[in-house]
């Protein structure tokens, strides 16, 4: 039975690369050989350890192999399972971790081609994000341009923790390309682990790493606003994926407070941070890091000061909730419709575009 309204768009699911072998047909000869010669095995990251409960819900975990790594399973569990009309595939693979810009570009290209051929060509309900070699902005733009004509790619995907704060001008060519092509910029939880995932160094446990992701999102959002990304690229939509959202009101209170006294440092920021968020930033629903009771969540929604900010997501196959209880109690029927249908459509301009399958060779 469908758990959602007709027309619902799931803005964050995670089809997985079953193994590096799956990408080999889509790699150029040189890089295919380099993978073998250098003995490159899986581009695993510690962001989602294979056996962590968070990595896959028990009832979705396959007997063998990686969760969510074949189309039939994703169709059954994610698309049919929730009854969503469209789901946006954000593939988390360790492309961003590589120190070689060339190898990162080769893997990103293979990964996106694999996504187009093995998933998008075979399932019309799927859309995807373009994975980029964020290590090099020029190469990242090349990868965006390669897929820009394929309207099934609706977003550019970055990790919240890379080599530098996300507002830095070195990354602006990526944002210019995204804006130019009507692609949202999806910023997903995770790190390239070139730097510690917390600002005070390396944590001991996975618990700390995962919980502290919201701090990384706060830093990223502050950087994007203060560096003037939304002044330079006013049509750019940024979607914070798997960020949680209960921290947002308090963080914006704090940012607004200090903007009032320090704004001459960043004079291009000529409106309050909340106004900028309202026009340019969205957040995915799951994981809901909200209060356990409906009344408190309703209060929090008031603090959000907008019913346009949240986008429906299941975060499939990650274990954030059980059964089909993807919407937390305390969301009104009107807000639920906005979260499931209206807000995603308003955010992802390309969802309205006619999709020409196989548009890109």
């Amino acid at each position: 039975m469908a758990a959602v309204l007709p027309g619902t768009i799931d803005c964050d699911i995670h089809p997985a690369v079953p193994s590096i072998q799956a990408l080999m047909p889509y790699m150029e000869d040189h890089w295919r050989e380099m993978v073998i010669t250098r003995g490159v095995d899986e581009l695993n990251t510690i962001a989602y350890p294979a056996n962590s409960p968070l990595t896959c819900r028990p009832d979705w975990r396959p007997a063998s192999g990686r969760p969510a790594s074949d189309l039939a399973t994703v169709q059954r569990q994610a698309l049919d399972g929730f009854g969503t009309s469209i789901a946006i595939a954000n593939c988390l693979y360790g492309v961003q971790l590589l120190f070689s810009e060339d190898m990162a570009a080769a893997f990103a290209r293979a990964l996106n081609t694999w996504m187009a051929r093995e998933w998008l060509d075979k399932e019309p309900r799927l859309r995807a994000s373009i994975v980029i070699p964020a290590q090099n902005a020029e190469m990242a733009v090349d990868e965006i341009e390669r897929w820009a004509d394929d309207k099934r790619f609706v977003q550019v995907l970055m990790l919240v923790s890379g080599d530098m704060p996300l507002g830095k001008r070195a990354l602006w060519p990526i944002y210019a390309a995204a804006e130019r092509h009507g692609l949202a910029l999806g910023i997903h939880a995770g790190s390239n682990y070139h730097n510690p995932p917390t600002p005070v160094g390396w944590p001991t446990t996975y618990t700390e790493d995962y919980v502290n992701q919201s701090q990384a999102f706060q830093s990223a959002l502050t950087s994007l606003i203060c560096e003037g990304v939304f002044n330079k690229f006013p049509a750019l939509k940024v979607v914070l994926l798997e960020s949680g959202f209960t921290w947002l009101p308090a963080h914006l209170w704090r940012l607004t407070k200090f903007w009032r006294g320090l704004r001459m440092e960043i004079p291009w920021v000529d409106r309050a941070p909340m106004d900028i968020v309202r026009s340019n930033v969205r957040l995915s629903l799951q994981p809901v890091d909200g209060p356990p009771d409906a009344a408190s969540l309703e209060k929090l929604m008031e603090h959000m000061q907008s019913d346009e900010l949240l986008l429906f997501s299941t975060d499939y196959p990650h274990w954030q909730f059980d059964g089909t209880d993807v919407m937390p109690p305390g969301i009104s029927a009107d807000l639920a419709r906005r979260i499931m249908v209206d807000n995603p459509r308003a955010t992802y301009a390309r969802l309205g575009a006619a999709v020409a399958q196989g548009a890109v060779a």
């Binding site: 002044n231 320090l262 291009w268």
Partner: protein, 137 residues
């Protein structure tokens, strides 16, 4: 409202300021290049004494990385948290419609007319040959 004599012009040179009390209200009087302005000496944020703030310019930007600096000396920064106020209007930069400190009309009048009235000068001895700063409170 009535006009009150608060200082001889010679006491507040251009760029200068004076804190006066009129009808119980603390008012900071500023001389910006020969023009006089009066603001309630109380930041609407948390009550900081605006009279002690730095006078700066208006920093604006057409796009990130470009800085324009105009109206030098016409923007008052609260000494407590740095909120900026337009000396001419009392409006804040951050939320000009909602956050503002009260601005009082200030004029310069010759001593001769001040002596004739209807000006109030409780604490000043007025001389006809001097000009005076008068505030409408």
């Amino acid at each position: 409202m009535s006009w009150h004599v608060v200082a001889p012009v010679s006491e507040i040179p251009p760029g200068g300021r004076k804190l006066v009390t009129v009808r119980g209200r603390p008012i900071a009087v500023f001389n910006i290049g020969g023009e006089f302005f009066g603001l309630l000496n109380r930041c609407p944020h948390q009550g900081g004494a605006l009279c002690e703030g730095v006078l700066t310019g208006l920093v604006e930007s057409p796009e990130p990385g470009r800085y324009s600096y105009t109206r030098k000396g016409e923007i008052l920064r609260c000494p407590w948290h740095g909120w900026e106020f337009d000396v001419r209007t009392g409006q804040s930069y951050c939320d000009p419609e909602k956050i503002r400190t009260r601005a009082y009309p200030v004029e310069v009048e010759p001593g001769k007319s001040v002596v004739e009235g209807p000006y109030v000068a409780e604490t000043l001895a007025v001389k006809v040959e001097e000009d005076y700063v008068v505030v409408d409170v």
